[in-house]
Symmetry: C2
C-alpha cells in the first residue's frame, strides 16, 4: 500500500487527458473518467497483469468498461501503459477512422477486450469472460501448471445496474459462484436524467447479495485509495462468489460541475478545463500533457507484465512437452482454427434417411462433433429439451458444490435469460479458447437483440441455436411464431442467418458457422419433421444457396428455405400436372453466404429470362433481392396443429403453385427479364 505524489499525478493525468480529448472532439463523456481515475489507476497498477506489447496473451487479466461512454478513461490508460494507442490517437478521439471511437470497440483498439457502450452488455460480457476462464482453467491447469488463472474486472455504472441484461447475468454469475469476477459499481448518483433518485432507488448492494455475490462498499472512491486497494484485495480472496464493490465517487471530480449531470455527457467548458488543470497542478494553457514520471511508472508496470508473459511462455513450453495432447489442443485453440479433419464427423444423409426436425438434425451434429471440437460449449436458456442443444454425455458447467456438474463441463444452463446468454456468449467467445453455442426459440432471440447485434459488430464466433423457427411450431401460437425475426437478423451486418432444409444443409450450416472465425450465426431450426432432399449435399449447402431441382425448360425459379423447400418440390410437381408449367427450385439456406459467391454462380442459381418467386413462411421483407415475387406471411400466425396452420395460410403445393402461375403470367411480357442478381451498382457492405 502507500500512495505518493506520482500516484496522484497519474490519476490527475488520466483526468486531464479525458478533459482534453472530449474538449477537442467537442463530444464525449468526461464525467466517468474523472470520477473513476483513482480506481482505474489502482486496479491496473496494483492488481492487473498484462503485457501491452501482446494484448492477446492468454493469461492476461481482463478488464471491461461496461459504462463504455467513459472510454477516454480506458484510452488514456492504454496509452500510458504503452499499448498501440498513441497521443495522436487520443487527439483523434471520436473522429472518422480513429482507433479511439466514441465507444470502445474490440476490433479497433489494441487492449480493448469487448465492445461496450450499449449499457449492461459489458457487465454481462465480463460474466462470460469469467465463465471462459473458469472453464479453460479447469480443462488445462495441471499441478505445477497454473496456465489459466486470470481475473476478470469490470467497471459498471448506474445505467448498467438498471439494465435487465446485467440483472440476468448477475443472477447467473452468483449461481455459478464465479470467484474470478470482480465488478466495481461507479456509484455516483448521476445518470443522464440527473439524480438517480428520480428512477433508481433500489438497494443495489442488497440485490447483489440476493444473487449470491460478495459485496463491499468503499464510501470515498475519490480519496480513499487504501480503501479501494483493500476492497479489491479482499474480493480476490473470495473464491466461491463473484464480488461487487460499491464505489461511491464524484462524477466529473475536479470540474466546477462535479457531482452533477452536467459533466456526464458533455465536454467541460473552456474555463472549467483550465480550472481543472490548475487545481491538479497542470499548466492550464497546455493540453494532452503526460508528465514523464507518470509514463515511467506505467511503463515499469508494463515491463513487469511483459516479464510475466515471458515466464508464462516458458511454462507453456514445458506444459506442451509434459502434457502433449492438452498442450497441442490449447495451442491450436489460440489460433482460432479447428482440429484437422473435424469436418469428417459431420453427419451426411441419404434421401432414404428418415424425416426429422432440423432441431434434431442440429442435435445430431452436436452429438457427432463434440469430441473433435472440444472448444464448443453448448447451452440453452432453459429450453434444453426443446432446443436439443445437449449431447448425451455432456457434463454441466456448474460449480462442484452444486453436485450437478463442474467447471470443466461443456453444457451451460443459462436459465430463462436469453439476453444475458447472448451477452455472456460474446464474452466467452472474446476470451479466445471457446466457441459458444446457445439455444432458445427463434422468436426469443429477439429478447437478446442488443447482444446479438454486438456479436456481429465485434466479430464474435457465436452460434445461436434458434429452434421453433416459424408458424410450423404450431400450437404455441402467434406469441411464439417468428414473422419479422429473420428479416431483422438478415438486415444485421456480419450475421449469418441459416435456415437449413434438411440434414445435409444442417451439417453445412455448422461447417460454415464453426469455420467463420469472425462472424456469428443464427441457426433457424424447425420443430416439425423435414424429409432428406435429393440433391442436397454439404458441398452445396456451404455455398449458401444452390439449385436443388434443375430444369432447362423452366418457366419459373422457386427460391425457398428450410421447411418450405420440400413443399416447393411438391409445388413443382403440382405445377407440371395442373398448370403445364415447369419449375426449378433453389434452396437458399443462408443469403449472406450466397451473397459472397461469384456473380456467375449466383446467376446460375437465379438466372435471367424467367421470373423467380421466393417462398418462406414469414415476412417477405428482403426477398425482393432474390426474386421477382414473394410468397410469405406479412401478418401474425395462428395457434393450432402445424399442418392446419400451414393450410390456413396456403403454404401448400397448391397455394405455392397458384402464386407461381400468377408470377409466370405477370412477367411474360417483360423484356429483358433480368435476374434480381443483376444490379445497377454495388452496395456498401
Amino acid at each position: 500500500m502507500g500512495y505518493d505524489k506520482v500516484d496522484e499525478l497519474a490519476i490527475n493525468t488520466i483526468r486531464t487527458l479525458a478533459v482534453d480529448a472530449t474538449f477537442k472532439a467537442n463530444s464525449g463523456h468526461p464525467g466517468a473518467p474523472m470520477g473513476m481515475a483513482p480506481v482505474a489507476h489502482i486496479l491496473f497498477n496494483k492488481f492487473m497483469t498484462f503485457n501491452p506489447k501482446n494484448p492477446d496473451w492468454l493469461n492476461r487479466d481482463r478488464f471491461v468498461l461496461s459504462n463504455g461512454h467513459g472510454c477516454m478513461l480506458q484510452y488514456a490508460i492504454l496509452h500510458l501503459f504503452g499499448y498501440g494507442v498513441s497521443m495522436e490517437d487520443l487527439k483523434a478521439f471520436r473522429q472518422v477512422d480513429s482507433i479511439c471511437p466514441g465507444h470502445p470497440e474490440a476490433h479497433d483498439t489494441p487492449g480493448i477486450e469487448v465492445t461496450t457502450g450499449p449499457l449492461g452488455q459489458g457487465f454481462s460480457n465480463a460474466v462470460g469472460l469469467a465463465v471462459a476462464q473458469a472453464h479453460t482453467g479447469a480443462v488445462f491447469n495441471k499441478p505445477g501448471f497454473d496456465l489459466c488463472t486470470n481475473y476478470t474486472y469490470c467497471f459498471f455504472g448506474d445505467g448498467c445496474a438498471m439494465e435487465g441484461v446485467a440483472s440476468e447475468a448477475a443472477s447467473a454469475a452468483g449461481h455459478l459462484q464465479l470467484g474470478n469476477l470482480i465488478c466495481i459499481w461507479d456509484d455516483n448518483h448521476i445518470s443522464i436524467d440527473g439524480d438517480t433518485k428520480c428512477a433508481f432507488t433500489e438497494d443495489v448492494s442488497k440485490r447483489f447479495e440476493a444473487y449470491g455475490w460478495h459485496v463491499q462498499h468503499v464510501k470515498d472512491g475519490d480519496h480513499d485509495y487504501e480503501g479501494i486497494e483493500a476492497a479489491i484485495k479482499k474480493a480476490q480472496e473470495v473464491k466461491d462468489k463473484p464480488s461487487m464493490i460499491q464505489l461511491t465517487t464524484t462524477i466529473g471530480f475536479g470540474s466546477k460541475l462535479q457531482g452533477t449531470g452536467g459533466v456526464h455527457g458533455n465536454p467541460l467548458k473552456e474555463d472549467d478545463c483550465k480550472q481543472v488543470k490548475e487545481k491538479f497542478g497542470f499548466d492550464p494553457n497546455k493540453s494532452f500533457v503526460v508528465p514523464q514520471e507518470v509514463y515511467d511508472m506505467y511503463h515499469k508496470h508494463a515491463s513487469e507484465g511483459a516479464a510475466a508473459e515471458q515466464e508464462w511462455n516458458q511454462l507453456f513450453e514445458k506444459y506442451q512437452s509434459e502434457h502433449k495432447e492438452l498442450g497441442a489442443d490449447l495451442k491450436r485453440r489460440l489460433t482460432g482454427k479447428l482440429q484437422e479433419g473435424w469436418q469428417n464427423k459431420l453427419p451426411v444423409y441419404k434421401t432414404s434417411d428418415k424425416a426429422v426436425g432440423s432441431r434434431k438434425l442440429s442435435e445430431a451434429v452436436l452429438e457427432a462433433i463434440h469430441d473433435v471440437v472440444p472448444e464448443l460449449i453448448s447451452g440453452s436458456a432453459d429450453l434444453t429439451g426443446s432446443n436439443n442443444t445437449r449431447w448425451k454425455s455432456a457434463v454441466d458447467f456448474q460449480p462442484k458444490s452444486t453436485g450437478i456438474g463442474e467447471y470443466s463441463g461443456r453444457y451451460m444452463r443459462y436459465g430463462v435469460r436469453e439476453h444475458a446468454m447472448a451477452a455472456m456468449m460474446n464474452g466467452m467467445s472474446a476470451y479466445g479458447t471457446i466457441i459458444p453455442a446457445g439455444g432458445t426459440f427463434l422468436n426469443f432471440v429477439s429478447y437478446a437483440a442488443g447482444a446479438v447485434r454486438l456479436s456481429s459488430l465485434s466479430h464474435q464466433r457465436v452460434i445461436y441455436i434458434a429452434t421453433h423457427d416459424s408458424i410450423g411450431l404450431g400450437e404455441d401460437g402467434p406469441t411464439h411464431q417468428p414473422i419479422e425475426t429473420l428479416a431483422h437478423f438478415r438486415a444485421l451486418p456480419n450475421m449469418m442467418v441459416w435456415r437449413p432444409a434438411d440434414g445435409n444443409e444442417t451439417s453445412a450450416a455448422y461447417y460454415v458457422a464453426l469455420t467463420s472465425q469472425n462472424t456469428p450465426s443464427i441457426m433457424a431450426l424447425t420443430r416439425q419433421n423435414l424429409p432428406q432432399l435429393e440433391g442436397s449435399t454439404i458441398e452445396h449447402g456451404i455455398k449458401g444457396g444452390y439449385v436443388l431441382l434443375e430444369n432447362k425448360d423452366a418457366n419459373i425459379t422457386l427460391v425457398s428455405t428450410g421447411s418450405e423447400v420440400a413443399i416447393c418440390l411438391e409445388a413443382a410437381k403440382y405445377l407440371k400436372e395442373n398448370n403445364n408449367l415447369q419449375a426449378r427450385v433453389v434452396s437458399m439456406p443462408c443469403v449472406e453466404v450466397f451473397d459472397a459467391q461469384s456473380k456467375d454462380y449466383r446467376l446460375s442459381c437465379i438466372p435471367d429470362g424467367i421470373p423467380a418467386m421466393s417462398v418462406e413462411v414469414m415476412s417477405t421483407l428482403g426477398w425482393e433481392k432474390y426474386s421477382h415475387e414473394q410468397f410469405g406471411l406479412n401478418r401474425f400466425g395462428a395457434s393450432g396443429p402445424y399442418l392446419d396452420v400451414y393450410k390456413k395460410f396456403e403454404f401448400t403445393p397448391e397455394g405455392i403453385a397458384k402464386r407461381a402461375a400468377a408470377t409466370v403470367d405477370f412477367y411474360k411480357d417483360v423484356k429483358p427479364l433480368r435476374s434480381p442478381i443483376n444490379r445497377a451498382f454495388l452496395q456498401l457492405i
Copy 2:
C-alpha cells in the same frame, strides 16, 4: 375465511379442465394450472371485483397471467365465471381460429387483459396497469367519488422471475411505490430444464425487498387456503409498496408426476388423467365436467361483480354532473377517441422556418398538444434531454414522498430500462385511459424488441420516440448507430415505422399515431438539423408517402425518408446540372401507411416507365418493394462528426447522383419498365 367442499370441488374442477383441455389438444401446459388452481380460486372469488358481462368496465380489478403458458387456468376461470368462453371454446383449446389459443391473447378472448406467454412480459405489463390505475385515480378521483380504485394482480413463474425485463419492471415498481400491485410468484422449483437449482438459486424474495417491495411467503400453496387469503389481504393493506407473495406450490398437483418437469409442458398421459380425476372425486371416464355447485358459486360472484359495476355506473353518472369537465374527459377517453379539434394544435411549418432536428420537432408537437391530449403520458428511459420527450410544464409521475412529482404527473422516468419501459407502456395502454409515449435511442428500441412485438400483436396504441436514428448521430459511433433497426420493425406486422423528413411530416406522424387506436408507432427521429421542405404538408404526410418534387420529364424517381430527403432534393439539382438527368423525389415517411393507400395513388407516386431508387442511410432490406435500385448502408457505421460520416459513406448529392445515373442507364432497355407497386399477386397481411 373458511373453505368448504365446494371450494375444494371448484379448485379441482379447474385442475381437471386443464387436464382435459391439454389432453384433448395433445398440447399445452397442465402443470401451472394444477399448481395454481387454489390461489386462482381464492383470488378471483374472495378479492377480485369484475363483471364477466362487461369485461371493459373501467374499475374492474386487473389480472395478468405472466406465466402465460398456464393459460388453461385462466380460460377455465373465465368459463366458470360466465365470460364469453364456452365449454366448446375450451374443447377447441390450441386449435386454429379458437378463442383459446396456446397463450393468452387480449384481442382474442374476453377477459384477457394483456397478451402474455413471452416470459416476463405479463409481469411488466402488470406494473404498467398499476401505473395507469395510480395515474387515472389521481386525476379523476374526487371526494365521494372513488371512481378508479382497482388492484392489479399478477401471477408469475420462475421463468418470469429470471427474465431481465421483469427485473427492470420490478425495480421501477418499487421506486414508484405502487401499492395497488400484488404479484404472486408460483415458487414450484421447476422450469423447463427441470429443477431450478440448475440455474436459478438466487434469493428472489430478498431481491424484491431490495427493490422496495413488501414480501411475504406462503409455504404450502397447495393446501393453506387461509394462508393464501391472509397474505393477499395483508398485501392489499400495504399502500406504499408493491407486494410480492412467494407461494410455494407443487407443479401439476394431483398428477403422478407432480413436482417434476414432466408436468410442465406436456399433457398428462391417459392413465394419469384418470388417476387425477379419481383422486379428486371426478368420474374418470368423463371429460370437461363442471359440477353445478361450482357454476353456482362462480356465477354468484359474477353477479356481485355485475352489481358493483351497476353501482359504479350510477356513481359515474353523478360524477359527470358534479365534475362536468373531468367526467366528460373520462367518458371520452374510454371511447379511445381524442378531443375534438385537437389536431388544430399540431405545429405547421413554412420553408422559411429554421432547420431543426426531428427530435426537437417531436418535442414541439408534445409541447403544442399536451393540453388537448391529456391522456398522453410521455417519458424516457433516462434520455430525457436527448429524446426531447418532456414538455416544459410537465410534472413527473412519482410517489409524493419523493418530493419530485405526484401520481397525476404525466412524465415517466423509466430509468435505463428500455425493455421494461416498452412492456409497461403496453400495460398502461391496455388499461384504457392512457396513451403512453416513451423515448430512447432508436438503436436501443432493439433492447425492447420482445415487448415492442407485443405492442403490435396486442394492438396497443403506444408511441416509441426513437431519436438518434442513424449514422447521423455522429460521434457515438457504430455501437449506437442503427443499421438493421428500421428493417426489423418494418417487418413486424401492425407496426407503423415513421421517419419524418421535416416539421410537417413530424406533425403528420403524430396525427396518425395518435388516431390509430389499434396500432403502435415508432418515430425515428434525427439528432441533426433538417430543413423545412417545400411541398411537405401534414395532409401529404398522413398518406405515408407522397410526391415532394414532381417532374413530368423525370428520368428517375428518388424515394427517400427522413434526413436523406433534403439531400435527394440537392441530388436532383446536381443530376440536372451535371448529368443532364431529371429526377422526381418521393418522401416516404411511413411505408406501412403508404401501403394502405389505393394502388392508383401509390402508382402516382412511384409510376411505371422510369426506374426508382431508394435512398436511406441504413439497411436496404425491404426497399426493393418501392424501388428498382437501393442506396443504403449494409454495413456498420463510424464514429465521427456527422457530416464526415455522411461523406465517408457518400450520402451526399454527388454520391446519390452517381448511383441515380447508373440506375437510369441500367434500366433504359427494359420494356415495359414496371413500377414495383405492380405485383403478380396480393400478399397475406
